[in-house]
Symmetry: C2
Subunit: 92 residues, 2 copies
């Protein structure tokens, strides 16, 4: 990835942890675009993060693009199951 | 709403209930566009529904547009809290 673009993977931590990561990336690293990536239950957190950053901290932020998809995950007990994914692109 | 557009509100039921509602709307009611609307934890279910309908049942379906937002909800104990929302537009 180039220096002015960054990915934040959303997991099971509270939304505020990721909000801080996004703000830090924009403000101290000079990033122009941050992509939030999440799957499964973390999808809701990803939307929360985008909304909190946008409304509470960086009003000039734009939600550029949102894409959804499906990933196959290998299960420990064998076989695969499908999980939904989301990518939310934020830019300023 | 006009006859060829429909809204499916995603709640706490299993994704397959909503998948069936979407397919029924497209196939028996002649709908051209269905918007999935969800908030909070149901956001993940909304993405699941879009992906399942698209990949398993209606390959010709298109995800037209995804928008996210925030709604204020009145709390029983007084005051409000914010909840994230998603709208996923599907068309064929």
């Amino acid at each position: 990835m180039s220096d002015d673009s960054n990915i934040v993977y959303i997991g099971r931590k509270p939304a505020m942890n990721y909000v801080l990561a996004v703000i830090t990336s924009f403000n101290t690293e000079g990033t122009k675009m941050v992509t939030l990536k999440a799957r499964g239950r973390a999808i809701t957190t990803a939307v929360d993060v985008a909304e909190i950053v946008h409304h509470r901290f960086m009003k000039d932020l734009k939600v550029d693009d949102i894409t959804i998809g499906t990933e196959e995950i290998e299960q420990q007990e064998g076989g695969t199951r499908n999980v939904s994914t989301i990518d939310i692109k934020l830019s300023r």
